[in-house]
Structures are given as structure tokens and as C-alpha cells.
Chain length 409, copies 2
């Protein structure tokens, strides 16, 4: 970005239809900032100069507008309201991108641990991480949940996350569940020698969640799952900024599909789940994989992941991409081709649906990961891992196929 | 709703494409609740019976699913995550409606003042209310803002709202601005004899906003403007529930256009800005009028308003509909035909763009409102109000036309 726009956020929109694009762009630049301009006195224009929006470029329906930092505060409610608030209701218009100048991006927390920090917590380097999700949570007793946790942990997963719909947890209340799962993680560690993080679903009145998160960390919580869009991006930012909340923040994309899939409206997925999640401070970001039955377009998914991991990007620390849904061991080499080493392989059905059970499902993934890191074909690795052999027989091998199943794990 | 579903929230979806709709509905009902069913033992099925989702009806792509209250907490992050969280990403699917049983709806705050309470605060009965918006806010000094406030108040408006993009207010900080505008309202009241409420834009870290709102109320604030979607619905609910926050909550629809306009995706406007805003506790709800350049479809707008005002609806108190954008005095009779007496007429350009200035703009609206309540045609009333005469000459008379201008005031 050259210096012309160093004090501006640049928004890129795609508009449908026809008409005088230049005039439309000018209407947006004024209407979303100072309201009017031509009728103002020279003195008023001078006074408002630093607050007026400017047209950066117009290329038919592809329009870029610069919004002065002087109108903004460094948070996502401000950024989204200023660039797409009322404008989102103005006909066929889609927010494709936001480009922040470094000074402004630096005012956002970004991930506090990021890829390197999460790896350090786990002591795992040089391979993708493996995450699994409870098959279900609602209605299970504490004993049933911990048994499910134990089976997953035995299989060698690095993280286990709650079901994101787990709000009414009267059968397994938050603090008791946290304590029980942490004890179970320790019990599994004595068998496997491996650390496992538990991303417990953080729910409750939004203004009390930072306090609830601090208390959870005091009780030993080592990760938190957040429904970022249902609660609003600002919650994620305030959790990331809190010096006492020192654990990985795992961002679930629930509701994102209400915003990104249309060609004409909404917010592009790479911006919504890539740039904005990283700015607000997610250490891990789940998003629809390009493989499953509800796949994100591959180009979009790779762009999204690139925005999370770009080492030259802002904020400084990268987030872990977690392409989710439809993941089974046979996809591991393909996922590493697509996303590299710094990816979290996240499976639900691909672990619980293993004929040998969840522990065998985890072991099959770990064998596939180890083989892929070593450049060994899965068919060859399966000769030494019956768990992987069974998984490949169940779901197929190294090329992506679309399995039956349900959305994001 | 018959008793069959008294312990369920019913979600209505529209799916595009083809296929086995019944099977798809069953997959949703299970996948969004307990995850799997056929493979479970009879004992597990018995234990999970009260948590499993059920198919209510399947009519080609129109599918209704019942979600057990046992899975939910009475808040919108829970409700939206449970009914549309990961499902929103599952292809072409749109959430059309949510039907809550009375026991569950009653656990939401709803408007604390509602239509009657807001009228009492103002001492205004038997006519629509009139609201105006600052022409712009960013970059203005306190003196400029209060002068703008005074001109609007002189015209006889009942409420004045901040610009929703007003986040960076270093030139007119929140508490100073509040105090200055309240003093200005009092100064105007000595001239007009009329109360005017000031909806100040509530911004800042989301977890501190209830505290900021309480402090504002202690300082005399008499209304609050909230960017509900950028901050998340839960903030609105927690403000409404707070016993110390005793002032009208004005909900701005910023970002709503990222969610409702597509035919294939997202959340229908009457649900999003009608039902959900009322449940969460908005006393006034802005939404795109069916008249302006970025109009909401008229059927949708009337349905939306109906959900806000239905006296038999839940929660008990109705919210004020505030159809916004493209509003000028000539539209007042038409708005009353569409929305009745319990509507807030909200104008930006229709007040500030009056050739006689903002005070004359307000007076023109008040004359149009008085005439319409009395059943007097505007042309006739204009004989006794030169302000109205000028407005009708400027923007036209009693039939809606689409003026140039910008989205939601």
C-alpha cells in the first residue's frame, strides 16, 4: 500500500446491475462518512477533510472506497458498521475485502499464541495438529462425556472440542465438566505420554464471558471454544486482549453461512473467517473444508487459510487454519498439499465412525499424518497400521471424495 | 401451537435444489442435536429422547424442524447456533422463521418500555412519533453538534438519534456530548414545550457496554442507540434485562443487509429485524422502509412491523417499528395506512433537506402527521403550513415515490 492511503481503510465491494458506477462510488464515499459535501462551505469542507471517504478506484461494479481512520475505533463493530453497516442494505452489494494500514491493524490484538504458541503448549512441531470433536454433547452425563473424551484422547489427538451447540449444560455444568475433562486428559497422558487441550464451549451473557473465561483459566482451562458470529466479533477481541486469558482461542464459524455464500450479498468468506478472525485474535479458526458435502470453494478456502497464516501479514502472529467437515485419514496428504504443515486436521465422523472406535480413529489419523510428513504413501503406511488400513478401506485413499455426513465438525 | 411442540422451538427453512427432502430433514434434525440415532442402543435412545430434534413437516424444500428446549438457553446466540449455526453452511438453505413456545419466549426480556412506555416518557399519544437523525456526526465539534440538535428539536421531533457510524468521537466525547445534548433538549423544550429524547450511540468494548449504559442513565441519558448486529443480539438482551437501564433501546439494523436479502441464503428480514429484535428487547427497531431507494419488499416490511407490534404476540410489550430511508412529509398518510398510528416516522434528508432548514423540516412533518391523524388531505393542510407546502413542492405528495438519497437514516 502506498502512502496515499496510509490513514485509510480500503473496502472493496462488488455491485450488481448497471448504472453510473462512478457516481455510485462517490455517493457511497460521502454517504458512509460525512453525509454531504458539495453544498458545504469551504470552511466546513476544510474542517471535515480528514473525515470524508474517498473513491480509490472504479472498475465497472468493482468499487474501492477509502475510509479515514479518523472515523474509526480499532474494533470490528466500528469497522463493519463504517464500511458495510447501512450500505449492506443498499441493493445488490457484497463486501469482498478490507485492507487495513499497518498502524491500524496493529491496534487489534491478533492471536496471542498463534501457530507457534499453540505448538509450544502442546510440544508438537513439524506436523499438522489433530483435533477431534465430541460426537455429541447435549444430554450426556459427566461420566459419558469423560468416557468419550478419554477414547478420543487415547487415539493421540492434540485437541478435543465441545460441540458448538452445547449451551444448555445442566447435565454437565461448565466448571464440573472442565475439571472432569482435565482430569481425564491427565489420565490419558499417563497412557499416551501426550498433552491434549480441551476447548470448552464458552457460553453465557456476553458481558460476563471475559470474567467466565478468566475463572476457567484459573481452574486450569487450556483452550476455549467461541461461537464468534453469534456473540459478535468484539467478544473474541476482548478475550484476546485480556492478559489473564492466556489459552488458545478456538473460533467456530457457526452462522457464517448466513453471511458468505451468496454471489450478490454478504461478506466474502476469506475476509469474514480469515482476515477478521485473525485481527480479532483467534488462535485456531474453523471453516468449511473444500472436501466435504458442504464444501467451501477450494480457491476461497486456500485464500482464507493464506490470510490466517501469512507470515508477512498483520497482526504478527498467524492463526491455525482448521478446514472442517468431511475429513478422513485418506485426505491427510491432500490437506497437507493444500494447507501445508501448519494446519489442524479436525475430524468428527472420521474419528468416531472408525470401525474400531474413536481411539482407533485417532490412531489412523496419526499414522496418516506421520506417513504424509515423511513422504510415505498411505497405502504403504497402512501395511504397518491396521487402524489406518481399516480407515482407508472405510473411506478411501489419498484423493478427496465427498463422504456422506454433516457440516462442520 | 398445539401441545405436541410445547417443549420445542420450530425452525422453518427453505432449501433449494432437489433430492430426498424427507431424508434431508431427518439428517438436519439429528445432525443439529444428538448427532446420530439409528446406531444407538435402546437405553441410549431413551436417555437422549428429550434432546433429539424432530421433523415437523416436509413440503418439498420447505422444511420445519423442532428443536428441544432441553438443548437451549434463552438467548439468541444459543437459539441461532442451535437452529442455523453449522447448518447455515450446508448448501442453499435459508432460515425463514422461528416459532417459540410461550414458556420459552417469556424467558427473553422483550421491550422494557415498548410502545406504551415510550409514549409515556414523551407524553405523546394518538399520533406517530417523529425521529430525526443528525445529518452527520464524525468530525463535528460539540458546538456544531448541539446547534444541529437544537435545530432538529425546534422542529418538534420526538427523538433525535446519533449517526450509527459515530464510533470515534474524540471531538465530542460520549459523556460531554450526552450532557451538552441534554442541555440543548431542555433549551428547546423551553421554546417548544416538548420533550425530545436523545438516542446516543452506545459504543465500546462489548463487555463494558452495560456498565457504560448504566453510567449514561445516571447522567440523564433518556435513550440509547445500539448497532445490534455488529455487537451481537446478546448485548441488546443484556441491556434490556438490566434493571438500571431504564431508557428506550433503539436498535439500528446496520449489517442486516449482509444477512437477509438473498433468496437462497441467510435469515429472512421479518424474523431477523422483527421477531428477534423484539425478543431481545428493542423498544424501537429501524428497518428499511418499503419506499426508499433501497426499499425492503412491502410484504416483508409489513410482516416485520406486524411482528414488532402484534399485541397478542410474545413478549407482552410491542416494539415501535421505524421504517427508514427515503421518508419525506408527503409519505406520512401512506405510512399510516401501512403501519398505523404506532409507528415512528424517521427522517434524515427529509428533515435536513427542507429548503427552510431542519426546524422547518420537522414542522412540515408534524403538520403532515397532524393532518393525517385528523384525516385531512395534505394538500389542504399545506394551505395552513407553509413548511408543509414547501416540502410537498420539494418531494411530492401523498403517493410514494423514490427519492434520491441514501440508505437507512
Amino acid at each position: 500500500m502506498d502512502d496515499t492511503w496510509k490513514d485509510y481503510v480500503i473496502a472493496t465491494y462488488r455491485l450488481a446491475g448497471g448504472g453510473d458506477w462512478t457516481r455510485k462510488a462517490e455517493t457511497i464515499a460521502l454517504g458512509m462518512t460525512v453525509g454531504s459535501w458539495p453544498g458545504l462551505s469551504a470552511a466546513r469542507q476544510a474542517a471535515l477533510q480528514r473525515h470524508v471517504g474517498r473513491v480509490v478506484s472504479v472498475d465497472a461494479g468493482l468499487i474501492r472506497i477509502a475510509y479515514p481512520l479518523a472515523n474509526l475505533t480499532p474494533d470490528l463493530p466500528s469497522l463493519l458498521t463504517a464500511t458495510f453497516g447501512k450500505l449492506s442494505m443498499d441493493g445488490k452489494i457484497r463486501l469482498l475485502d478490507l485492507t487495513l494500514p499497518p498502524t491500524f491493524a496493529a491496534a487489534f490484538p491478533g492471536p496471542q499464541l498463534g501457530v507457534d504458541g499453540v505448538r509450544e503448549r502442546l510440544g508438537v512441531h513439524g506436523r499438522p495438529l489433530l483435533m477431534s470433536i465430541f460426537k455429541s454433547c447435549v444430554g450426556l452425563t459427566l461420566a459419558e462425556l469423560t468416557e468419550g473424551f478419554f477414547q478420543q484422547a487415547l487415539g493421540g489427538v492434540d485437541l478435543i472440542k465441545d460441540d458448538e451447540i452445547f449451551f444448555n449444560d445442566t447435565d454437565a455444568p461448565f466448571e464440573q465438566r472442565l475439571e472432569a475433562c482435565l482430569q481425564t486428559a491427565e489420565r490419558a497422558r499417563r497412557e499416551t505420554g501426550q498433552t491434549v487441550l480441551y476447548a470448552i464451549n464458552l457460553t453465557g451473557p456476553v458481558h460476563r464471558l471475559p470474567e467466565k473465561a478468566r475463572r476457567a483459566v484459573q481452574l486450569g482451562a487450556n483452550a476455549l471454544l467461541i461461537n464468534v458470529l453469534p456473540y459478535g466479533f468484539d467478544l473474541l477481541q476482548r478475550l484476546a486482549e485480556d492478559p489473564e486469558i492466556t489459552v488458545p482461542l478456538v473460533a467456530h464459524p457457526a452462522l457464517a453461512g448466513a453471511l458468505y455464500p451468496s454471489d450478490d450479498y454478504g461478506i466474502a468468506a476469506p475476509l469474514l473467517l480469515g482476515t477478521l478472525m485473525r485481527l480479532a485474535g483467534a488462535d485456531l479458526v474453523l471453516f468449511p473444508s473444500p472436501y466435504g458435502g458442504m464444501a467451501l470453494d477450494r480457491t476461497q478456502a486456500l485464500d482464507l487459510a493464506q490470510r490466517l497464516t501469512d507470515r508477512g501479514g498483520l497482526p504478527d502472529r498467524p492463526s491455525f487454519p482448521v478446514p472442517s467437515a468431511g475429513i478422513h485419514p485418506g485426505l491427510v496428504p491432500h490437506m497437507m498439499d493444500d494447507f501445508g504443515l501448519d494446519v489442524v486436521i479436525n475430524a468428527g465422523g472420521g474419528i468416531h465412525g472408525h470401525p474400531g472406535g474413536a481411539a482407533a480413529g485417532g490412531r489412523a489419523f496419526r499414522a496418516a499424518i506421520a506417513a504424509s510428513v515423511a513422504g510415505v504413501p498411505l497405502e504403504q503406511a497402512a501395511a504397518e497400521s491396521s487402524d489406518l488400513r481399516i480407515a482407508l478401506d472405510q473411506w478411501g485413499g489419498g484423493t478427496p471424495r465427498i463422504p456422506k455426513g454433516f457440516p462442520v465438525a
